[in-house]
Subunit: 473 residues, 2 copies
């Protein structure tokens, strides 16, 4: 029942997910979980926001889950990247299927045979679509709710098609900016890396990834943007007629975000008392607690509570009144656990003085405002979110260390992200991974300012890049 301290991150996270009613972890298949009503409300608010960002210049579509084996097997690199973790449907009813069907681990091979039909001429380009779907990975490693799943329930994947490589590169930049806006609003700080060759998306020309640092110092990949060049276009014969009448392969990008964004939201803002949620995304944004004493104006207090609730709801807030029989302390505990950003207490003195006693979830300091100034609360809640963001940002930056030597980087391994100069050679990259027992995240591309110290941390030759490494989820 008691939540472990956040310093015991793994236990804290697993316990919080369940007790705050985000996911039920007791579903009888490994790595597969149930979204509970409260968790689903959080998911809805986060994904409605993500959708609104994409709707600016993408169209939503819905492609099938089942991919026939022959399509799935067309792109050689792609299948090598996924063959160990694809679920296969082999039977329909009591019959064996003629063609095995893969549960999509991602949808390139479901979508691109249709892009082949949709794209005829340059006038059909650019094409930008997205979908929010469930995808499947037969994970053999340790699974964990929201982080490592066999059914990823909430995969937002966008797919774009362009006439030139330059336009595809521009789209990669736009996608990165869109993801920046998304994570900035959630208050999830990130580093952006170009993944090394051996860790890019199977079939991509290059992969950019957003990593955040979790409370235990390990990084979590929370978003990826891939430039596919013409690799898939050649496999699925996606060609367009140019204004000059030539036929050329199209250039493609794809980019994805999963429910790991919710995992990061919970992990990064939460504290020893439970969830801490930015105002905009909290399923319940305010709880009103009537402070009732026997015989002392119970009716007037409840009436006042209802008035305040209506007033806030008119402003678009999601509000509950907790008039249960619990002691005030138990009520505080319950709503703190659920990360309700604003708590409002109304007792006899508040009614008499026409005031409200308010506290925000993250600092828990009580203060009084005049009830007439209730319209100022939204702004205050927003400012409070800014402080939340600032705190998360600082937390991440404290866990990034620019390292002048491999020894220094080794000393920092497991504590966050080590940055260092890298020449770009695979052999030096492998040596870094081996000596640090870490993953080379790739070349730093954004989210943090750092200049290359000039020489590679391994070979001491010229290092044009700052690279990073960390233990990863």
């Amino acid at each position: 029942m008691e939540l472990p301290e956040k310093t015991r991150f793994s236990e804290w996270f697993n316990e919080l997910i369940f007790t705050a009613e985000i996911m039920d972890v007791r579903y009888p298949v490994k790595g597969i979980y149930v979204w509970m009503p409260f968790g689903f409300k959080l998911r809805r608010k986060v994904y409605d926001y993500l959708r609104s960002l994409l709707d600016r210049d993408h169209e939503e579509v819905l492609f099938p889950l089942l991919i026939p084996e022959h399509e799935f097997m067309k792109e050689a690199e792609h299948i090598r990247g996924f063959e160990d973790e694809v679920y296969w449907v082999t039977h329909g009813g009591l019959e064996e299927l003629d063609v095995k069907l893969a549960l999509r681990p991602t949808s390139e091979t479901a979508i691109y045979p249709i892009f082949n039909l949709w794209i005829r001429t340059h006038a059909d380009l650019p094409l930008k679509v997205y979908q929010i779907v469930n995808v499947f990975r037969y994970e053999t490693k340790h699974t964990r709710p929201l982080i490592r799943l066999r059914e990823v329930t909430s995969f937002k994947e966008a797919h774009t098609v362009h006439a030139t490589m330059e336009e595809a590169e521009n789209q990669v930049e736009k996608a990165v900016n869109l993801y920046r806006e998304f994570f900035d609003t959630l208050g999830i700080p990130y580093l952006i890396f170009q993944r090394p060759e051996w860790d890019k998306f199977p079939g991509a020309v290059y992969t950019l990834a957003f990593d955040t640092i979790m409370p235990d110092g390990k990084t979590l990949q929370i978003g990826t943007v891939h430039n596919l060049g013409t690799n898939f276009a050649e496999t699925f014969d996606i060609k367009f007629e140019t204004p000059d009448g030539d036929h050329e392969y199209a250039c493609q990008t794809c980019y994805g975000i999963s429910e790991r964004c919710i995992a990061a939201l919970i992990a990064i803002h939460g504290d020893n008392s439970g969830l801490v949620l930015p105002f905009r995304f909290a399923p319940i944004q305010a709880v009103i607690i009537p402070v009732l004493f026997k015989g002392e104006g119970r009716e007037r207090i409840m009436e006042r509570a209802e008035e305040i609730k209506s007033e806030l709801e008119r402003r678009g807030w999601d509000v509950v009144i907790d008039d249960s029989e619990l002691r005030p302390g138990a009520k505080y505990y319950r709503w703190e656990l659920k990360g309700v950003p604003v708590r409002i207490e109304i007792g006899p003195s508040e009614v008499e003085n026409n005031t409200l006693t308010v506290s925000f979830r993250n600092d828990k300091k009580k203060f009084e405002i005049e009830a007439d100034k209730i319209h100022e609360l939204t702004g205050m809640a927003m400012e409070n979110d800014d402080r939340l963001r600032e705190k998360s940002r600082r937390f991440m930056e404290e866990r990034i260390r620019m390292c002048g030597s491999i020894e220094e980087a080794k000393e920092h391994a497991g504590k966050g992200v080590a940055l260092f100069g890298w020449c770009g050679k695979t052999s030096c990259g492998e040596e870094i991974e081996n000596r640090l027992e870490s993953t080379l995240l790739g070349i730093l591309k954004g989210g943090y300012n750092a200049e290359s110290p000039g020489e590679c941390v391994v070979c001491h030759e010229n290092a044009p890049y700052v690279a990073g490494s960390a233990r990863t989820y």
Copy 2:
């Protein structure tokens, strides 16, 4: 390219779905289709509305797709009902799974093992949840987009748990009323039948179903509401502690709607020119067509078109301006095909006289309004929808015949719904099905007023019920 006449319903429907860009039917697996951007916008508007109805007193959740064989096999009747049409996942990567996993054909066996954990006491009841998910049926019959699918992409299923059978029955009534409101707003007329014993949901005590009559006279089941009694509760051991400290099995209901609601929306309102959509659900609610003549105030006309667009958008409309190079006739054709409810033409005389030339999609009659009265257009569009509803209602009622004899019913078979007296005996029901080469839809429970003629159409004994039959999808 040319749409077949609606009298050739099957061809008309298949061609319209594709040319109006609702679904792409070229996905390389039988019975599995792609939601195109325009179709998905329609789906979003319809399902956002359905969601808003459920959100009044249900909570949204998300349960897994994959159901382990041992859970799926627990309820004997249920599995008999589905065993021929379940897809099975047997392999993960290159390994064979220890436990086969079913792709949910519906989610009772995924959800109820968790209800077993969620429900402890009477205070946990009633529980009302819903989810919108993809479900799978290995259909061996002829498949058809939106109607008979192997991947049902848009299954809204609600599941409720109650303390008593009476409360479960009340919930069935509430669900029926919710579905009435949904279909009434869509302008889809319906009959409500209690399905005969041999056609109820596998595992249910009884099933109520909404049937609509399609343009070819066949009925389409568009919604079902099931009272499960304690059948599943006994299988999954869903018990609660009563106020007296006893432990009792809970009573359950479930009810579902799939993308067949979109099929009905398209089939019922559409005409020889294409889609006809109620204003509220149309992805594009108005198209503005600038009528441009060479050199004649092109700029002013375009400016006016933009003003009108902004004005309508401020009122929440989805609007496009078609300033393409197409001839006016080709433009009309294009937007009629897509069911845009309101067309506004603006040429030199409209600019000069400060008027708009307006026509509605369903009657295509042009009329003029003063531009200052643009705020009246929303109301006019709503009234127009009422006429659409009324027309659909009449269409259905013309295809219902109360039949005094089996001969009369046989004469009506294939032309709509035949109603007649039924004693309720299975043997008479079977004889009706055989002689009419139709399906016995069950006992009429709503959507149409009819009194029993008093005697069974087969055995001529006392008939307490009006029953219906039809050829069905």
